[in-house]
Subunit: 356 residues, 2 copies
């Protein structure tokens, strides 16, 4: 099922992960320059086929990137979307008719056998297949009709960071290409990412808060919801803190019972309609005395116990997730270091997870 | 956003929840006798319209029932499916073209404004709309073209139990109706549910194990995955234990780092292809020394540290989830009682969650 490679211990804990986090502005720049023309070409060829529905297939971090694409496709493009339950194809042999359907498979390595098998099956069932990977020579790229390379360069740390933001930007440019947009909202991202990543001291101070946390809750709505899920995954993979993520609306449907003044909550408040829709949830959380930390605009941070203020002025809501995750990747890293663990060497994770 | 009703304290803690859990065999019987003909009629009318894609919309417990339906629709019927990201409609105003699309909204109360709004928008966008609710007079039933009443009777406990199994069975019979099946696999469920619910002492013994648990991980694959998610939600709502649920495949893509010999894991091993696909995950968990408790067949329980053996002989895989959740509902109840809390009165939950 899954080949375990021994965790790679670096001489200096977290050296690999922090190096890859730092590469992100350069990767984003590379996608905007070298990657964009190819992405636009793929998008135009697919747009000409006019798919009616989109299915997204992925696991782990890439699944969170796929969820971001789902919001883009529904909101920006008005296409109905679904996330694939992969076992229906790989374990149960379901073969739905996928004519008119675009199937996007997102995978850092492009190597997981179940992703390859389900993409192959989708293509045989009539789907337009697109692989979004960090490996143009991967089996997944090979079995897909179309391929987008996210150009992040080799990723060695087990917790994925630069491939996540690379997948987000590539998917954003792809959807822009589908709808004939110019992708201008992404232009400022490399510089903004650089300025965010430079604020390591702020994140270190925030990390102290979670030194002894036994659980964490992350919440958001709309475009920021994938950020909440990815931040929870990053925190779990590195620090092993049980981190639960909920859309703000779902949080009110049950899990709120778990939140009280000993449960730290991190809310990702995307500036725009998602952040607006989250306001009533933030009020409830403040009312319950939750320890509320906000990642969002300065004015939202000011209303919370603490937070990390993002540049949001003039940054379109739909590209904010590409910045939002950065302080949260850094937080996962700093909390793990503060706990005396090594972010480069999570227990029992293999870089290419071979689920079938 | 959400109207908070004061938690209803019963004289005897958990009296309301345990009463409603005990009603489940009778509710299942009622659906099979009174409900089935109406469900079949609705299914036949919808089948005649030949929808190409299905979108499912729900929150909380009903979202887990919707996920179960997604597996049925993909595996049994071969229709591509997606779960709706509701905020794309309610917060962002997305209006995708839903011609040929069946939109199923699942809700116990049928009263949440966002579900009503998104169903209304789907109908206006050309979708065939079906509401599956426990309230035939609800706003949701009214705005939907079709309605299925799950006939569970008034549900008063805040943690939903009988409406969950009622939704599962109603959705199973609906999909059977769509594909022209006879639903025979469900016939034995009321008696089997009765025999499972009678084994309260076994669950009480199991609950002792989690008296001081600080977190729990639930996992499964295929049809049992919604059970893992619903069990986690039930445990959180009642006992406030942070309970994380993952498909077995996703568990290997990251969160496994969090599992070790102090992290209790409950695996739901559905007898059939889902359980087979979970085997490599179970091996990994045993290899890590996880405290593994299994809900599944006797032979699967025998390989674990402890468990609850379900009747699986002659029970079709696709209906096993209707039994699987029962010992886990009871477990949430018993753990909560053991911790000196009241399962009827979770903090801060309103029965009708009015998210917008």
């Amino acid at each position: 099922m899954s080949a375990t490679t021994p965790a790679q211990h670096s001489e200096q804990p977290g050296r690999i992960m922090s190096g890859e986090m730092a590469e992100q502005p350069a990767v984003l720049r590379r996608i905007l320059t070298e990657g964009a023309p190819k992405i636009r070409e793929v998008a135009e060829r697919i747009a000409a086929r006019n798919p009616r529905f989109v299915l997204l297939t992925a696991r782990g971090t890439s699944d969170n990137a796929a969820l971001y694409a789902k919001y883009l496709l529904e909101v920006q493009l008005g296409k109905p979307c679904g996330l694939t339950s992969m076992s229906t194809t790989t374990a149960y042999g379901a073969r739905p008719d996928l004519t008119d359907c675009l199937v996007i498979t997102v995978s850092q390595s492009g190597g997981s056998p179940d992703l390859v098998a389900s993409t192959k099956a989708a293509r045989a069932a009539g789907a337009i297949t697109l692989a979004v990977t960090n490996n143009a020579d991967s089996p997944l790229a090979e079995v897909s009709e179309f391929h987008i390379d996210v150009l992040a360069g080799s990723e060695k740390a087990l917790p994925a960071t630069k491939t996540y933001t690379a997948e987000l930007l590539a998917l954003y440019l792809f959807v822009e290409g589908l709808r004939g947009g110019d992708g201008a909202a992404a232009k400022a991202l490399p510089d903004l990412a650089e300025s965010v990543l430079a604020r390591q001291d702020e994140v270190k101070a925030l990390a102290a808060r979670y030194r002894f946390a036994e659980r964490m809750v992350l919440t958001s709505r709309g475009y920021g919801y994938p950020t909440a899920k990815e931040a929870a995954l990053k925190l779990m993979e590195t620090s092993y803190i049980p981190a639960l993520s909920y859309s703000g609306a779902d949080l009110l449907h049950g899990p709120l019972a778990m939140v009280d003044n000993i449960s730290p909550v991190i809310a990702i408040v995307t500036e725009g309609k998602g952040g607006e829709a989250l306001q009533p949830v933030l009020e409830r959380l403040r009312g319950r005395g939750a320890d509320l930390v906000v990642v969002g605009s300065q004015s939202e941070v000011d209303k919370a116990a603490a937070g990390f203020a993002l540049p949001t002025d003039g940054v379109a809501e739909e590209v904010q997730p590409i910045l939002e995750i950065l302080p949260l990747q850094m937080l996962a890293y700093e909390v793990t270091i503060a706990r005396g663990q090594d972010p480069d060497a999570p227990r029992s994770l293999a870089k290419v997870t071979e689920t079938r």
